[in-house]
């Protein structure tokens, strides 16, 4: 049973103030989103209608600490079809952003923050990769991590990383 004393009536406003979450109050729970969802086809753990309903009710902790908000594949099927222009894919992102600020970060994203900080990209470039590229006549590519690391710092994301910064080259010797 849902106890009304456990609900946070401000949660929907918090979401509406988050970039991407502005249209949450327009939802009239028609379910077009869930009916359109390719993730819902393979698992009943994910239902955008249910997430929006829970958020509107004020089930803040249940939503933010859940695993299911992270199951959106960002395909924008619901986003395109929503008759109320709730902009659901962006809305789910807004909820994820709030969850992250409350300390709920899936481990995969912590690893990605570290990769971006150290390499400026998600996939590290090794010497082997550039050798293979050269064999195919493709130009070498180089990592440019410095500016990306600064962006992670300025926007407060760098602290979410899983590990300490990689040692500078001098220290590694």
């Amino acid at each position: 049973m849902i106890e009304s004393t456990q609900l946070d009536p401000n949660f929907k406003d918090e979401i509406a103030n988050e970039p991407g979450g502005e249209h949450i109050l327009s939802c009239f729970t028609c379910g077009t989103c869930t009916a359109s969802c390719p993730v819902r086809v393979v698992t009943d753990r994910y239902s955008p209608r249910k997430i929006i309903r829970m958020a509107l009710l004020g089930l803040k902790e249940e939503v933010l600490s859940s695993d299911f908000i992270w199951l959106c594949s960002a395909c924008y099927s619901c986003h395109e079809r929503c008759p109320q222009d709730v902009r659901i894919t962006e809305l789910i992102n807004a909820i994820k952003n709030i969850a992250v600020r409350e300390g709920h970060v899936p481990p995969a994203f912590r690893v990605q923050v570290d990769l971006l900080r150290d390499h400026g990209r998600l996939i590290e470039i090794g010497d082997y990769d550039n050798e293979r590229r050269a064999e195919l006549g493709l130009p070498a590519i180089h990592e440019q991590p410095a500016e990306v690391a600064e962006i992670l710092k300025v926007s407060g994301t760098i602290a979410l990383g899983a590990a300490a910064p990689a040692p500078a080259e001098d220290d590694a010797k």
Partner: protein, 298 residues
Amino acid sequence: MRYALYLGCTVPIRNMNYELSARKVAERLGIELVDSDQFGCCGYPMKGVNHRTALLMAARNLVVAQEMGLDIFTLCTACTGTLTEASVVLNEDEALRQEVNEELEKATGKRYNGQVKVHHIARVLYEDVGLAALRDQIKVSLNGFRFGAHYGCHYLKPSEVFEGFDDPEAPHTLDELIEVTGAEAVQYNTKLLCCGGGVLAVDEEVALAMPQAKLQELAQAGIDALVLACPFCDIMYEYNQRRVMRNVDPRFQLPVLFYSQVLGLAMGMSAEELGFSLNRVKSKGLATKLAALEAAKP
């Protein structure tokens, strides 16, 4: 036609066949692709973590193109979606651009002027080159080949940032690009299904369940290959194909090709120079047709 070539994280490491064929096709069509080693991740992975971080990372890439004085040419649809969205909101919303520029300047010392546009390879071929000009370049008809088009979600969605290009509910541009080569673009029910790539890092079981329906339907339709234009979709349909299908049919094999490889064949290039040896899923059917195509060349 001159663009800054934006490769993203995945293509230059895992899909050199896509990059190779895209460069060759572009060169033949007179599209000049200019390289820069200043580009980094588009920002897509950070969108769920911190919306502003993702926007700043995208804006940084737009600045790289701005300094080259060029628009961006993309291969990955996830990069296309992220960079297009960033360019549209930053180009149109001056107040937001100011705000983002304050932070971007703090991090990189540079500001974005709001002028850069982003174009996916298939959109350039369809809109800027055009089907008529492509038809003139077809040297070897792929008549007899049957392909299933897979539109990566972020090639067309969210439609609000793609200026009415194509129709996300009934997409046709990739099908037309396939048919211009003489091949048949087979119509099928699961065409709009997402590959599941966006969930892979979070929940592998859910992600790997998502490509199955499309692979099964296309195999039953007896096509030669699934044709796509996104490295993330390729990870799901090709790289993970065996894992996706192991409970259904351990011997399942459906080749997956990048559109630029298909177009290159029709333009008379060999499978070898288009990087076909790097396509992981082989089939006898496709190999036989490719050999026949090569043998028929004058």
